[in-house]
């Protein structure tokens, strides 16, 4: 799509949407949101960019292949699940920092699990969409 409006808008929308996706990710523990929705929003940001500027430009912008985010995300999630086992607690027990951190709120192993989900969702969605649009 070669409209100048979309091109210009996507330049500003990409960082905004990414910021919003992180906001949704962090808000997810007690309120609607979380890694899955956050990841989808982040994926949409890149898809919009690809619509406006072409797939090659977006891939250049991302630098890494989105598929690489899947094992990274899975690894973060798995480690956050296994971390309590080092403290001799069952798998996936929530570990929480006692005092809340400014901006983020209370910090716990659940957040890292969600960050992992976030990355896996971005990776999977973008891999699917990029593969579809590559083989025209």
């Amino acid at each position: 799509m070669n409209t100048i409006i979309l091109k210009t808008a996507s330049k500003y929308l990409l960082p905004l949407l990414l910021l919003f996706s992180i906001f949704v990710l962090l808000r997810g523990h007690y309120l609607p949101g979380g890694g899955f929705v956050g990841g989808l929003i982040a994926a949409i940001a890149f898809v919009l960019h690809a619509f406006a500027n072409g797939l090659e430009n977006t891939q250049q912008l991302m630098r890494i292949h989105p598929g690489f985010l899947m094992p990274v995300g899975l690894l973060i999630s798995a480690i956050s699940g296994m971390a309590p086992m080092l403290l001799n607690k069952p798998f996936m027990t929530g570990l929480w920092k006692s005092d809340p951190v400014p901006v983020i709120g209370s910090l716990g192993s659940a957040l890292f699990f969600d960050i992992g989900v976030y990355l896996v969702v971005i990776g999977a969605t973008l891999t699917i969409l990029f593969t579809i649009s590559e083989t025209r």
């Binding site: 598929g67 094992p71 899975l74 086992m85 607690k89 069952p90 798998f91 996936m92 027990t93 929530g94």
Partner: protein
């Protein structure tokens, strides 16, 4: 870390799969690491199984939520043995696929998905919560969808469509059953459900839920009226994939049936009779299907259906001896079926075809190999010292003690027909002279393989044949385990106590 042994057989395949994904484009490293991962999983499963054979029921609550509220993993002797056998079969299949799975399939993630399939299998054997069981079923189904379509050959896609449709339908029915139970009783934990069902007066609705679960698990384990998807799909993927499918996927359905019909829906005459009728029908029809097929893998697919009948029949009788025979049969069948499919894959490599009319002359050329294959094939039939003999003996004794003539007739007829099917394979592939050796020679890949690859292909078959021989010759030990399984199954109270009251949990 040792106290978490219940979860290691689930976590290790997951960790291995993640590590393998980092080497997405390097199939050589994937082959090595995958084997290492399967080896580690096998060691941890062995450890877990040995601990459960003492008679303890080990539990672990992920997230540290107490049992009826959070999910729980439970390992009793049945789960322990099944996890052990699943890990053993997966290890054997992985070693076989080092050579037999080409770069094309490995490049699209065969090895990580195989790990995830094992994770799903171990998870469903250990789940102590019926919804969690459903989730593990989904993990199995999704990974098996990928495995069955990987390579995108025309036949594969055709088989996959039948497989996918029927299994999704089964999941929907299973989920409906769960929803009914949850709506009626407000719990999903198996132990908690067991208590609530025995206290409930709503027998009509609970029986409907039981039948829904029976149909759902029945489709998955391919019993009589719901079996047709299995022979239509299991012969399409590569031999390594059909081996793990044939060995383990249907058995998960049987396991779920054992769990549900021993723990939740106890002493229901209607369902017991229905199970026996379905069992006899599956035995006979599966075996009849097997003797008319020409494709080796189709023969084994039909034999799966027939042999699932033996297990369901034992579950229907539910006498101590019948349960002993059924559980023994389940253990034997996992090893024997995986081995049978691997052997069919190896015969394909040796002769270039799966069809009986294009095979021949194997005994003449490879006498020692043929004897090893014979041990594996005839353990399917139940020739005396081999592993298939004891469970059939127990099941026959149990049906005679109960004077259940249907089951006696079914077992005898199905065993006889199985013998015919296996003898047909033996005659056609091993004794008969090869019909057209010169023409077939071009399709035979065996001669081009380097020596170490030939050995890698033979090792898994030797391992599984060894396991089968161990079960047959050391039957007293396996029978002890099966007896322990019976005592645990027949007294749901021990399971309930282990899950709800004295959780052997980490503080």
């Amino acid at each position: 870390m040792i106290a978490h042994i219940v979860i290691w057989p689930i976590l290790l395949p997951l960790i291995t799969a993640i590590v393998l994904m980092f080497f997405w484009n390097n199939s050589r490293i994937q082959r090595v690491l995958s084997t290492v991962g399967h080896g580690l999983t096998f060691i941890s499963s062995f450890w877990l199984a040995m601990r459960t054979f003492n008679g303890d029921i080990l539990t672990l609550t992920p997230g540290n939520w107490p049992a009826p509220f959070g999910i729980i993993f439970v390992a009793d002797a049945l789960s322990g043995m099944l996890v052990l056998l699943a890990s053993l079969s997966a290890f054997a299949v992985c070693v076989f696929s080092i050579v037999s799975i080409g770069k094309g399939r490995a490049g699209f993630g065969f090895f990580p998905i195989l790990q995830l399939l094992l994770m799903g299998l171990n998870g469903s054997f250990l789940a102590g919560d019926i919804f969690n069981l459903y989730v593990w079923f989904e993990v199995i189904i999704i990974s098996s969808f990928v495995l069955i379509t990987l390579g995108s050959e025309k036949a594969q896609l055709e088989g996959a469509i039948k497989y996918v449709t029927m299994n999704l339908l089964a999941s929907v029915i299973f989920l409906t059953g769960i929803a009914m139970l949850y709506g009626l009783l407000g719990s999903l934990n198996l132990a908690d459900l067991s208590i609530k069902i025995s206290e409930s007066n709503d027998h009509g609705l609970i029986n409907i839920a039981a039948v829904l679960l029976l149909v759902g698990f029945g489709i998955k384990s391919a019993i009589f009226p719901m079996y047709f998807w299995l022979p239509a799909s299991y012969h399409t993927p590569p031999a390594a994939v059909s081996a793990i499918f044939g060995g383990l996927l249907t058995k998960v359905g049987v396991y779920a049936m054992i769990r549900v019909f021993s723990l939740l829906f106890i002493e229901d005459e209607f369902i017991r009779n229905m199970l026996i009728i379905l069992a006899v029908c599956s035995m006979i029809i599966g075996a009849l299907g097997a003797i008319v097929q020409q494709n080796m893998r189709k023969i084994f697919s039909f034999l799966i259906i027939s042999h699932i009948g033996f297990m369901i029949g034992g579950l229907g009788l539910f006498t101590p001896l019948a349960i002993l025979g059924m559980v023994f049969y389940l253990f034997h069948d996992i090893v024997a079926k995986t081995n049978a499919f691997l052997i069919s894959g190896l015969i394909f490599k040796l002769r270039g075809s799966f069809r009986l009319e294009n095979l021949g002359g194997l005994y003449n050329r490879y006498p020692f190999l043929s004897i090893m294959f014979a041990l594996a094939l005839f353990s399917l039939v139940g020739t005396p010292p081999l592993s298939g003999f004891w469970p059939k003996l127990f099941l026959l004794q149990a049906s005679f003690a109960d004077l259940n003539w249907w089951l006696i007739g079914g077992i005898v007829a199905a065993s006889f027909l199985t013998l015919i099917a296996v003898v047909r394979i033996w005659l056609a592939a091993f004794w008969k002279k090869h019909p057209d050796y010169e023409a077939a020679k071009k399709r035979i890949v065996w001669y081009d393989l380097p020596r170490y690859q030939k050995i890698i292909l033979l090792v898994p078959i030797a391992i599984l044949t060894g396991a089968s021989l161990f079960m047959g010759l050391n039957a007293a030990y396996i029978a002890d385990v099966c007896e322990l399984v019976y005592t645990q199954i027949s007294q749901p109270q021990t399971y309930i106590d282990a899950v709800l009251t004295n959780q052997s949990n980490i503080p």
